[in-house]
Symmetry: C2
Subunit: 128 residues, 2 copies
């Protein structure tokens, strides 16, 4: 595993722009180290980028993605803190389950559309 990735290596791997990565840094989502002014991304940043992009695909905003990532980093902390985190996890989980249900519903509607198209195609082959 590489120690560091340059910004363009990552833009190529994930098909995003340098602007996007710098934006994520501004937003505090990644924290590349610097050699001079140049950013050097560590493997951990790379993992974060994957998580960010996954969050984006699911329609989460940067703020929500930040919240989720914060959960992952959940430090030891004291009892109250821990219970807060667990609450947060519960709530995100509910949201994700809703999304999953939305997906199942949409998928089955798309199945119906496809069936209808197939039937119509079969009909066309007979009729014509």
């Amino acid at each position: 595993m590489k120690d560091f990735y340059t910004i363009t290596e990552l833009t190529r791997e994930f098909d995003i722009s340098t602007r996007t990565l710098r934006f994520y840094e501004d937003e505090g989502l990644v924290k590349p180290v610097r050699r001079g002014r140049t950013r050097l991304f560590r493997p951990s940043d790379r993992v974060l980028i994957k998580q960010i992009l996954r969050g984006k695909r699911l329609g989460f905003s940067i703020a929500e993605i930040r919240d989720i990532i914060e959960m992952y980093k959940s430090p030891p902390g004291e009892s109250g803190q821990l219970n807060k985190i667990i609450e947060g996890v519960e709530s995100k989980r509910a949201e994700l389950r809703q999304k999953r249900k939305d997906i199942e519903d949409t998928l089955s509607e798309l199945d119906q559309v496809e069936d209808a198209c197939m039937n119509r195609l079969a009909e066309l082959r007979v009729t014509s």
Copy 2:
């Protein structure tokens, strides 16, 4: 089932603003009939609104939602058209499956976070 819904009935049911519903009309997603200038939404519009909101929860843009809704309306059409629609369905399905995988991955990471919190809490109860 009601014949018509007023705009505010729907804003209350779905917790969205009138502006949002008018915006969806401008975008051609719903087509309420009019009594004078006043919009009257039919049950079919109500179903469309549900589909729009579901699409939004999944992070689809209005344009993408419009595409999906168009698929549902897929009319008889001729063979070429039908195949185009089937292609579209396939592609959306792939996208949805990716999202579903993203959800599963996120859910299991959240499970890990919760486990870690629970363990830490148990530790605290013993240690203190």
